[in-house]
């Protein structure tokens, strides 16, 4: 076997520390090895040099001793193709990031480079040509989550002509953005800018929306995902319902509304908010009198049924069942958004006992003119107007002891916005903001903060709040620090708004395990590369956008949704996908069928196969396999091996070091 070793100087990146000539000379001494060097192997002349040597010396495999394969593995693979060799007959010895960039001793670094190159030669001796597999692509995208990010992604993909399905857990799309009053820094009314998008998505012929639905199972691989969606029973027929609203007007049962953040009521049959899409109510089976009576006495006709009586369209269907939908998709976008931090862990802030200590989301509902108080800032405890409001920032965020070490990004801006809106509602109200730092890194954000302080007279106090407690007259005493003046401050407030941080959606773990995408220690989904691939995941065909990847504001969510959509469109623009051939394969003669490999495979890429002698053995589903190698470690008899990184190759590499 003839192996060519090409050692790169990388300008002086490598040659400044490593004696390249010595590396070439030492490698050339190996039998069957031809070695040469060049200043920039990745350049056109460098690549052409490799090609001509392949042809002239009839090389079987090529080693490039240069920078990390992350950068140029693809480049050199293509070089080999142009030289007439299978691209997997390439080995790269990283003598830059792993050698010249981390060592200073010239002799030792050169010796290390020689050893790295020799290891690559040892591996290349056992390289086999590998051939990528082609798979077809289903041109339909699944978007999990119908908030602003999910909606935007669906609009972008469908505008290119491809089918999109949005699956949303709540009865309406819109997500958290539908709860806000006005958005910073422009103070656009949130619903006014969101609802056109919601309508655009729902009216598009290429977008199908399943609300009050959840994804139960996703199998398959890029281009060929199979999803099972459970459309939960609303107990209302979507085709018949006209959205007239008589049912929820007449419903006698009142419960706390989740949309109103428990500050106001809703009925048992309800539409979460006025501009809901679809504008079809849902019956809350837990609280509805009919369903409760049916659970107690299954034989009875059931109590109440007022909504059914009054519905002019006959759309109430108490016996409606969940529907299971199974569809194929080529790509999945996860846009499941965030949850609010539960401030009950802060005992010093009342641990949720004080009604007038509200969260930012609750305050949004108070501000909103279609909220529980019609836009009047009333104290939840006694419905008196709140004229002195203290805003406490970083509640939960940046607090390692409460488990949230990161900054939630948006709170500084939304607190400023809420203080401004308070002043708009009640011009002579007193607004105080306790902060640690102000993070206003966006377009017009810094100016907004300045405006809130200068124009609207909101007082910013740099310090933390140590305690909030109720005084005898029903006010809240807020004790904090003002570090810039070096004093302790006590404010008697009517209401305290806590800027609670953004934490991950509770479904993240289950969803991540189901789809097979990783999440980090804060349980936000992990992007493929934090700088260069923020909308992709390690799993091919699955993309993420919005706050489920990390807390972010609306412009960033929309931008990331567009990014995810563009990746999906890139996927759909191909007729076929080529899968990496570095895959596991099972020697079925040796396999025992114990399936330890299947248990440790993160991608569910092991299947059963029944041989002629009725024994059951493992088989790798090549399209799902990512070549991670877990199965190879788990197999007790070494029946699984990794093409391109076989056990023998690795042992040869180790042997070459001795």
């Amino acid at each position: 076997m003839k192996i060519g070793v090409f050692v790169c100087h990388c300008g002086t990146n490598i040659s400044a520390v490593i004696d390249v000539q010595k590396v070439v000379n030492d490698l050339a001494k190996m039998p069957g090895v031809f070695a040469m060097d060049y200043k920039f192997m990745c350049s056109d002349p460098g690549q052409n040099m490799i090609i001509s040597e392949i042809k002239q010396k009839k090389l079987d495999a090529v080693i490039v001793a240069a920078c990390s394969p992350c950068l140029h593995e693809l480049t050199f693979r293509n070089t080999l193709i142009r030289g007439g060799l299978n691209p997997y007959m390439l080995e790269i010895a990283n003598i830059r990031e792993q050698d010249s960039w981390v060592h200073t001793d010239r002799d030792k670094a050169t010796e290390k480079a020689v050893r790295l190159a020799k290891m690559a030669v040892a591996k290349a001796k056992r390289n086999q040509p590998l051939f990528p597999q082609e798979v077809s692509v289903e041109k339909s995208c699944l978007v999990i989550g119908g908030g602003i990010a999910g909606i935007q992604a669906a609009i972008d993909i469908s505008s290119a002509g491809y089918q999109t399905v949005i699956v949303e857990k709540e009865p309406s799309i819109g997500g958290k953005m539908a709860m806000f009053d006005k958005t910073f820094p422009t103070l656009d009314c949130s619903a006014c800018i969101l609802t056109p998008k919601m309508v655009q998505a729902s009216q598009s012929k290429k977008v199908k929306i399943y609300t009050y639905s959840e994804v139960e199972e996703i199998g398959g691989y890029v281009g060929n995902f199979n999803a099972r969606i459970r459309v939960k029973a609303r107990s209302v027929n979507m085709e018949k319902c006209t959205g007239c609203g008589i049912c929820w007007q007449k419903c006698p049962v009142k419960v706390n509304s989740e949309f109103e953040q428990n500050l106001g009521p809703r009925k048992a049959v309800y539409v979460p908010f006025a501009q809901a899409v679809p504008n079809v109510p849902v019956i809350d089976c837990v609280n509805c009198t009919y369903y409760r009576s049916k659970r107690q006495n299954p034989e009875s006709k059931g109590l109440c049924r007022i909504c059914e009586k009054f519905c002019p369209a006959g759309a109430i269907e108490f016996d409606q069942k969940d529907k299971i939908i199974e569809e194929k998709f080529g790509a999945v976008i996860v846009a499941t958004g965030f949850s609010a931090f539960d401030h009950k862990v802060y005992g010093e802030y009342g641990a949720g006992r004080y009604k007038d200590v509200v969260t930012a989301l609750q305050f949004e509902r108070l501000l909103n003119s279609s909220g529980p108080t019609q836009g009047k800032i009333l104290r939840p405890s006694d419905s008196k107007e709140a004229r002195t409001i203290v805003f406490v920032q970083c509640v939960g965020s940046r607090d390692e002891s409460k488990g949230v070490p990161y900054c939630s990004r948006v709170c500084c801006m939304y607190t400023a916005k809420q203080a401004l809106l308070l002043k708009e509602h009640i011009p002579d109200a007193n607004a105080y903001v306790f902060y640690i730092d102000i993070r206003a890194a966006g377009k017009n954000y810094e100016e907004f903060i300045e405006r809130v302080q200068d124009e609207y007279g909101v007082l910013y106090l740099r310090g933390r709040v140590s305690k909030i407690y109720r005084t005898g007259d029903g006010a809240l005493l807020v004790r904090g620090a003002d570090t810039l003046s070096g004093t302790q401050v006590e404010i008697s407030a009517d209401m305290v708004v806590l800027a609670t941080g953004l934490v991950s959606n509770p479904e993240t773990v289950k969803l991540g395990q189901m789809i097979g995408i990783p999440y980090d220690k804060n349980r936000f989904f992990t992007e493929s590369h934090p700088k260069l691939a923020p909308a992709e995941t390690q799993t091919a065909g699955v993309f993420i956008c919005g706050a489920c990847q990390f807390p972010k504001d609306i412009p960033d969510s929309v931008a990331q949704a567009g990014a995810a959509a563009s990746k999906v469109l890139g996927l759909f623009s191909q007729e076929h996908l080529m899968l990496e051939p570095v895959l596991a394969c099972v020697n079925q003669k040796i396999c025992n069928g114990c399936f330890h490999c299947r248990a440790v495979c993160p991608y569910n890429a092991i299947d059963e196969e029944i041989l002629k002698d009725k024994s059951v053995v493992a088989r790798v589903i090549e399209s799902k396999c990512h070549g991670c190698g877990n199965c190879i470690s788990a197999c007790p008899v070494s029946a699984v091996d990794l093409k391109g990184y076989t056990n023998e190759q690795i042992l040869e590499q180790l042997q070459s070091l001795r």
């Binding site: 289950k510 069928g593 330890h596």
Partner: protein, 285 residues
């Protein structure tokens, strides 16, 4: 014995199984018995001399309907086989026997085997029929099951190394430990793989260390402590010391014992996201 013999006859007559594997007596000692027809079932016995773990013979009876006479310790092997998809439950009929101890063949005073001392499986935890015990029921000794391992662990490193070196000098690589162990069912053992050669096939002290240690590790979480390997070893290597050490580790680290239930995943595969990933609910509304 009548109950056992009758059961075997019934199974064979009704053609529920092709063979009943049990114990019989010949030349004053007990050997495995293979009964194919009802009239031969009269030879079946069960007493203190029935040490063999008959589950081992399933290696040669895959995809066939067999009945097995199993003690509590032996029946645990079946659970591991089921966890690892080696047999189908409907293919085997387990005639469980209630057992209060079998003899240690290698001891001069015919005392009970070491494993019987802290047995918790007098009645097998998986069976299709159970034969009750005739005779007095001697309860197992309560107390620390891993006492001897803990004592050994306290010895200095050099002493322990020396001990095992002396033991493995004796090993002749006859692989009786492997062939008599029900858990060693691999079509081709790792020691026989030569592309690449993971551990030495030939006998030498180094190769013997490699072999015995790899076997002990491959049994981690799977060894049911039937003790057959130590009994079969012709040169008296205390193999159960090695195996018990790993059984102790599995218990302490993962609270896992092999062969407890048929529907539990095996130790290496045991990962349940709901159980193993802790979600701090306080954080999330």
């Amino acid at each position: 014995m009548k109950e056992l013999i009758d059961k075997a006859k019934e199974l064979l007559k009704e053609k529920k199984v092709e063979t009943v594997i049990g114990y019989r007596e010949i030349r004053g000692c007990v050997v495995p018995a293979y009964v194919d027809s009802p009239c031969d079932a009269d030879c079946l016995i069960f007493d203190k001399r029935c040490v063999y773990n008959l589950a081992n013979y399933l290696k040669w009876f895959k995809n066939k309907n067999v009945a097995l006479v199993l003690k509590g310790c032996d029946a645990k092997s079946i659970n591991v086989w089921l966890q690892e998809f080696q047999i189908k439950r409907e293919n085997i009929f387990i005639i469980g026997v209630e057992c209060y101890g079998v003899m240690n063949e290698k001891s001069a005073d015919a005392g009970l085997s070491d494993k019987c001392g802290h047995c918790e499986a007098h009645v097998p935890n998986i069976y299709d029929a159970v034969i009750k015990h005739q005779g007095d029921k001697k309860e197992s000794v309560q107390g620390e099951p891993f006492k001897d391992i803990q004592e050994f662990e306290k010895l200095p490193h050099d002493e322990r190394w020396d001990f095992w070196k002396k033991q493995f000098e004796k090993c002749i690589k006859c692989y009786a430990c492997r062939e008599i162990c029900p858990m060693c069912y691999c079509k081709e053992c790792i020691v026989e793989r030569n592309i690449p050669q993971w551990i030495m096939s030939s006998p030498s002290v180094k190769g013997n260390f490699e072999w015995n240690m790899v076997r002990a590790f491959h049994l981690a979480g799977r060894c049911v402590e039937c003790g057959e390997c130590e009994r079969a070893c012709p040169v008296n290597i205390p193999l159960m010391k090695l195996n018990k050490k790993l059984i102790k580790e599995m218990k302490e680290l993962f609270d896992y014992s092999a062969g407890q239930k048929e529907d539990v995943k095996s130790a290496i595969d045991d990962f349940y996201p709901e159980k193993d990933i802790k979600i701090d609910d306080k954080m999330i509304r």
